[in-house]
């Protein structure tokens, strides 16, 4: 936790927040602050800054906040990702939030096990929890939007074309693909397949929606490695 994310509900008075949940326990156990110490904080979907510890006891911590900095810049990206298996989804949600992705569409694909769609991890609260962990890691405050699309074809035909319009629209696909384009900050749509990749029919549908296949080398990477590699290649450091 490199930044303590605060919610509107935490404020007991202007610029005065009181925490008594997971964040309080983490701060107390790991950072062990004393009265007067300064901690890095941010308001969910708002500014970042610092907070002075007013009081810390066995029940809660009370902070005086000064939120005067913008959160780090976001990636101009809509990430379209075949739903990974639950364990990998968890880490991937944290990674994309940490790296500054703000729009994620989780989609079905032929090689996605249908049972993955029943995972409790897809509950709104569970998704949010892992995104918050990623934001806290990276010092960000802007919660990514995540949408679920359980049917590939309607998504690819009816929704993807308008998402992809006027963006650098790409699908990571190791076969019949061009090399990775250079890093720029232009608006981008990037689709990433499941383990085993998109099937030919799906790649054709994605191409019809305006996406161009690219690859990032001959090595086949797990989704949780492919995501940071692709984002690092497509965008300059922010």
């Amino acid at each position: 936790m490199n930044l303590i994310l605060l919610f509107e509900d935490d404020f007991v008075a202007p610029a005065r927040a009181r925490l008594n949940d997971r964040r309080y326990r983490h701060i107390r156990a790991v950072q062990q602050p004393r009265e007067g110490d300064t901690l890095k904080v941010g308001l969910l979907n708002g500014a970042t800054g610092h907070a002075r510890v007013l009081r810390v006891d066995d029940l809660c911590i009370e902070l005086e906040t000064c939120l005067d900095q913008p959160p780090p810049a976001a990636l101009p990206l809509t990430l379209v990702m075949a739903l990974p298996r639950p364990k990998m989804l968890k880490r991937t949600l944290e990674t994309i939030a940490a790296m500054g992705v703000k729009k994620l569409c989780l989609i079905h694909s032929y090689r996605v096990d249908k049972s993955y769609w029943s995972s409790p991890l897809l509950a709104e609260d569970a998704i949010r929890e892992h995104l918050l962990l990623g934001l806290e890691q990276a010092g960000d405050t802007l919660l990514p939007e995540v949408s679920l699309h359980k049917r590939f074809k309607p998504f690819a035909e009816d929704e993807l074309p308008s998402i992809a319009t006027n963006t650098r629209a790409l699908v990571a696909h190791p076969y019949e693909a061009a090399g990775c384009p250079v890093a720029t900050l232009e608006p981008t749509t990037l689709a990433i397949g499941p383990e085993g990749g998109f099937i030919r029919y799906e790649v054709e549908k994605l191409q019809q929606a305006g996406l161009t296949p690219i690859h990032v080398g001959s090595r086949i990477l797990r989704v949780e490695t492919a995501v940071p590699v692709l984002l690092a290649r497509l965008f300059p450091p922010l």
Copy 2:
């Protein structure tokens, strides 16, 4: 498993391998091959190629191998990494093997919990197991060399300078650092700190050994994300 890694011991005759362990069970459960099917294989530290299934029954699978391709190119890198906590070490070993790192020095650092050095994951066999998983994922055969350095100062003073000589020698460090250099295939030494980063004394020691601090943006990433991001920024796709 995108490539089945074979060992010399698997061969019961020239170009004929028999498997009855984890690999056999995985192939049978996931790939479900029949006689005559072709699988992607590689010989540990040797060539890659394909194998025809001669026989598959309840006890083993027998393959006729044709190993005629070189493994994918390796990164010209020595990665020096503060020992991560065990769960993260596991995944990081798999990631670095998958991405083509061939030399890894795991080192102590002030912010590395001393208990990490007692993890059973640091046994030679355990390290090897996770490296093999990474190689199988990426279709590689060349096992990375991993060395353990339980004391920071002797490593930084006596070993690192000769590792770093005549290489692009870098330490990922978010403070007082230059931006990330452009991607090239030149021989590189890269040091990555623990959660919380190297302390000032350590950064000075690494600089004395010839390493230059670089950063890859304002976001603080977990080691398992920072590694793929740094490698993707420092090297072009292979």
